[in-house]
């Protein structure tokens, strides 16, 4: 078979795939997908797990290590059958969060952390690059096989072939993977093309298998006999390695970026996953069925030293089955291309979303984001695809195309397995934190690179001395024997230490660190993904008591309205209105909607959850509640402020009103008193003047009437004088004539002035002439007025049979103190506070001689003189104390 024919058929095949993808994309654009979204296509697309490594390498693996190859198939099978609920959760989360890649999953779960996105992207690229190199290598090897079968023909060197293949794949991927931009990055066309390739590789492998079994070995019994006879029969199971590879393959099926792409990102409904949970393992079984026969026959028929990885091709070729070999080649080509295409798309999405775009946004931090983002993203993806393939090519060239396919694949698997703790922890453990994920991933990645990845280059990167004796001669740090674990297989060793370190760092840092708010929100959304989609929740028939629901509703909506709502619901359920409605999902949903109108959606949801027995009030619920509460609080704070202002205004008004009322009452009382004080003498005057006017009266009556009229007139005049005096004193506009006076003089004058008051009474004065020798600067007349008042009162009201008035003067601290006390019965305690009030009189006293303004005037005078006057209780009689400054301060 000519090399050119091979290239031509490859091109034709690629064009065919291109056409398939194109047609599907067009149907997709018209919304007519139909069976293209069927679970079958989804399951077939998952077959990109089976790459060229599986297609070619499994036979080589089987030829070298016997049944160990089966682990590569068994791992995913176990995951799909035994742990399909993990996949289901991942798919649900992926759909709900609109995840675009595994980097997106991890970054999104840990608070949309960009650093995690970058780390995951970098790890994925580093880990997957050998894998892509592996695909290139297998295609190149396949070309080599055909080329060597047709010697003498002009053909490019192996290195050039690799470049052409890489370039072609990059072109195809770019053309289809980056045609459009969708939020959820689904690529229906490519998925369908991959499904076609899945069929091609399965058919090719089974065809080769059938040819081997029935064409070469002579049937099933023949091949069984050959297997028994072969060296494979002696294969011994190595439990450590077996378990490790089983684990790796299982982890890879969810951690590989391309697997995440087809399982989660490209998933469009639940049926797809349900079907895949058994159909995908079945596909894997079919793929693995003929591995051992081909390996056994290859070992038997092919010359010693031929590459067992190529038995699938070389066996048909050696047997002259050119057509079958061509089919096998296309099968291998399919495996390689499908894997590279999807892997490149997945990685390109990660690179553009987590590295290029954030960097670009950071660089141009100002300015609005315009239309060119779209083209930027597309360009970023195209460049990323080229970069990924270039890296693969670079690794292929650097590693020299050496090494068995399977070993390179396992290095990749171990690399992406580092995502496992952060991923599984992220969807099952609320306590997992960003710090934990970062530290775990970094630790695992570094250990993986040191123990497995870097040594895979031989001594190209790590010096031979490090590989042999450890860095700086530290034996316990040797890459393949950390801490002296020399006995382990290098793969198991690397996997063990990297995952131990990864998980330990992840858990420890998660426990020790505290998640941020977005992280907590996301952890709830991820871990409790099944508890409630973001939209209106469908209530299961819970254990809600209708009575409890009614009580809660009444508390929120008011009794009448709640009753009406429940009655209507009962009627709708065909029950009597006096009964309570059943808590059906429909009723609960309607109730939540009603309550949401009153108290906010989140609160309503939380309250019904509580009653329905779904106690899972998520962080998200609480945050929404908090947000609503914050709004309410802000609102009520404003109300509170307004209310406070109103209250202050009202208080001020009330105080003003009270003041006015008090003033009004005072004014009324004062006017009433004045009226009384004026009318009383007027009454007497009028009555007696009328009597006098009659004439013809006895002389005594005339004289008496005239005397009363004169007395009352005097009384009136005095009242008016007092009122005027008081008014002047109260206004504070009193003119004081201050002079130097002797206290003794003042008291002498006062006593003299009061002699006319009850002159019939013989009153004894007690004085201290020496103490009275005080000179002071004050208004002599005003102060005399005060003393006259006090002494006159004592004269009038002292009821002692031997009335005595004591006047005591004392100077202290620049003030002079004068006590005027009598030995009468004094003023009852209850009335003592009243004595200085206007118009106050001792009850029961005849009022002929005063209007009750005397003490009020005294207080005003003393205040004007800068002093105080008080009633002095407990002196055995009525006693007043006047305290004055020795000199009045000017002003």
């Amino acid at each position: 078979m000519s090399f050119n024919l091979l290239v031509a058929s490859c091109l034709a095949y690629v064009i065919f795939l291109f056409a398939v993808a194109f047609l599907v994309e067009r149907r997709s654009g018209q919304g007519k997908l139909g069976w293209l979204r069927s679970p079958l296509v989804y399951t077939l697309s998952l077959s990109i797990y089976c790459t060229a490594w599986t297609f070619y390498g499994a036979v080589g693996y089987g030829a070298r290590s016997g049944l160990e190859f089966i682990t590569i198939y068994l791992g995913p099978t176990l995951v799909f059958i035994g742990w399909w609920w993990i996949l289901r959760k991942l798919v649900y989360i992926g759909r709900q969060q609109r995840l675009t890649s595994i980097a997106d999953l991890i970054s999104s779960r840990y608070g949309k952390s960009n650093s995690l996105g970058v780390l995951v992207t970098v790890i994925a690229i580093v880990a997957v690059t050998p894998y892509i190199a592996l695909q290139l290598q297998s295609v190149v090897l396949a070309f080599e096989v055909f080329a060597s079968a047709a010697p003498g023909e002009a053909r490019p060197a192996a290195g050039q072939t690799a470049i052409w293949v890489a370039a072609g794949l990059a072109l195809f991927t770019i053309l289809f993977g980056t045609r459009n931009l969708d939020a959820k990055e689904q690529h229906t066309g490519i998925v369908t093309a991959i499904a076609v390739e899945a069929v091609v590789k399965l058919v090719a492998l089974i065809a080769v298998g059938c040819f081997v079994v029935w064409g070469l070995a002579g049937g099933v019994s023949g091949i069984m006999a050959k297997i028994d006879a072969s060296s494979l029969h002696d294969w011994q199971l190595q439990p450590g390695r077996w378990t490790a590879i089983l684990f790796l393959a299982g982890a890879a099926v969810i951690c590989l970026p391309r697997m995440f792409q087809v399982i989660v990102v490209e998933n469009s409904d639940d049926r797809q996953l349900a079907r895949a949970s058994w159909a995908f393992p079945a596909y894997l079984l079919a793929m693995s069925l003929f591995i051992i026969p081909i390996a056994v026959m290859g070992i038997e028929r092919m010359p010693a030293g031929s590459n067992p990885d190529m038995f699938v091709l070389t066996l048909p070729l050696a047997e002259g089955q050119g057509g079958l070999a061509m089919l096998a080649f296309l099968g291998g080509f399919s495996s390689a291309t499908s894997m590279v295409i999807v892997e490149a798309i997945a990685l390109a999405t990660m690179v553009s979303n987590h590295i290029v775009i954030p960097t670009w946004l950071r660089l141009r931090r100002s300015g609005a984001i315009s239309e060119d983002v779209r083209s930027l993203v597309l360009t970023a993806r195209r460049l990323s695809i080229a970069l990924v393939l270039a890296l693969g090519l670079g690794y292929y060239r650097l590693s020299g195309g050496s090494g068995a396919l399977a070993e390179i694949g396992l290095i990749s698997f171990a690399g992406v397995a580092q995502f496992l703790p952060a991923m599984i922890g992220g969807i099952f453990w609320r306590g997992a934190t960003r710090t934990g994920a970062l530290l775990g991933l970094a630790t695992g990645f570094l250990l993986w690179a040191y123990c497995l990845f870097l040594p895979s280059f031989g001594d190209a990167i790590l010096p031979a001395s490090v590989l042999q004796a450890g860095p700086w001669g530290l034996g316990w740090l040797r890459p393949n024997a950390m801490f002296g674990t020399e006995v382990m297989d290098p793969l198991v060793h690397a996997l063990f230490w990297s995952l131990i370190g990864n998980t330990a760092a992840f858990c420890a840092a998660s426990i020790l660190s505290f998640p941020g708010p977005v992280e907590r929100l996301q952890s709830a959304a991820f871990v409790n993904v099944f508890d409630g989609p973001v939209g209106p929740q469908r209530w299961a028939r819970g254990e809600a008591e209708p009575e409890a629901l009614l009580m809660m509703t009444q508390r929120i909506m008011g009794e009448e309205e709640a009753q009406g709502l429940f009655e209507r619901a009962a009627r709708d359920q065909g029950k009597s209105e006096t009964m309570l409605p059943d808590p059906t999902p429909a009723f609960l949903a309607a109730l939540e909607e009603r309550l949401a109108g009153s108290i906010g959606a989140a609160t309503a949801h939380a309250m019904i959850s509580k009653l329905v027995g779904l106690d899972t009030v998520t962080v998200e619920d609480l945050m929404v509640v908090a947000r609503e509460s914050a709004q309410l609080m802000e609102h009520s704070a404003q109300l509170e402020e307004q209310r406070g202002e109103l209250a202050r205004t009202a208080t001020a008004l009330r105080e003003a009103n009270e003041k006015l009322t008090a003033l009004s009452v005072q004014k009324d009382a004062f006017l009433s008193q004045i009226s009384h004080e004026l009318r009383t003498p007027m009454t007497s005057i009028r009555a007696f003047s009328e009597i006098l006017a009659e004439g013809d009266l006895p002389v005594g009556t005339v004289a008496r009437s005239g005397g009363i009229i004169r007395d009352e007139a005097v009384r009136l005049t005095r009242l008016l004088d007092d009122l005027l005096d008081l008014s002047v004193l109260e206004s504070g506009k009193v003119q004081l004539s201050v002079s130097l006076v002797s206290m003794r003089d003042l008291i002498d004058r006062s006593i003299l002035a009061t002699e006319k008051v009850k002159p019939e009474r013989d009153i004894e004065f007690t004085r201290d002439q020496v103490a009275e020798s005080v000179w002071m600067r004050t208004d002599a007349d005003r102060l005399t007025q005060v003393f006259i008042n006090l002494i006159a009162n004592a004269r009038k009201y002292c009821d002692s049979s031997h009335p005595r008035i004591r006047i005591a003067v004392r100077v202290r601290a620049g003030r002079v103190r004068v006590d005027v006390a009598d030995n009468g019965k004094g003023i009852p305690k209850a009335l003592q506070s009243m004595v200085f009030e206007k118009f106050w009189r001792l009850p029961g006293e005849a009022r002929a001689s005063g209007a009750g303004l005397g003490l009020a005037i005294c207080r005003e005078i003393v205040t004007n003189l800068g002093g105080t006057i008080d009633y002095l209780p407990g002196q055995g009689g009525a006693a007043f104390r006047v305290v004055l400054p020795l000199r009045i301060e000017p002003g």
């Binding site: 006017l671 009383t680 009454t683 007497s684 005057i685 009028r686 009597i691 009850p843 029961g844």
Partner: protein, 140 residues
Amino acid sequence: MENSRKVLLVEDEPNIAEAIQFILSRAGWEVIHHAEGRDAAQIARRLQPGLVILDHMLPGLSGIEVLTALRADPVTADVPVLMLTAKGLPRDREAAERAGATRFMTKPFSNAEIVAEVRSLTGAGDIAGRAGAESGNVTP
């Protein structure tokens, strides 16, 4: 007959009391004067006068309080009460009427006014048989 001629005057202002006593005695009434609110109701009960002239502002017990006590006692419940006040406020008149005052006079008043009021309240003419007290020439 005797009772209708008997007037209890409760007034603390001595000159006013003297004036009223003078005027009413001259017109034929027997005026018993009491100067304070305390005991006024008991005195009224004992004397059973045809009329009580009651000052509004009294030391000890106010006129209103005395009036209330009078009305509460079955013996004096129906006795006419002429209330005198020197306070010119309508509020005081209302309080007096509420408490059961029969008439209400504001000081100062003319002698003829008080005689006419007393005559109408006791339902009796004066001894001299003349209308009014203006021309009364009875010796005190």
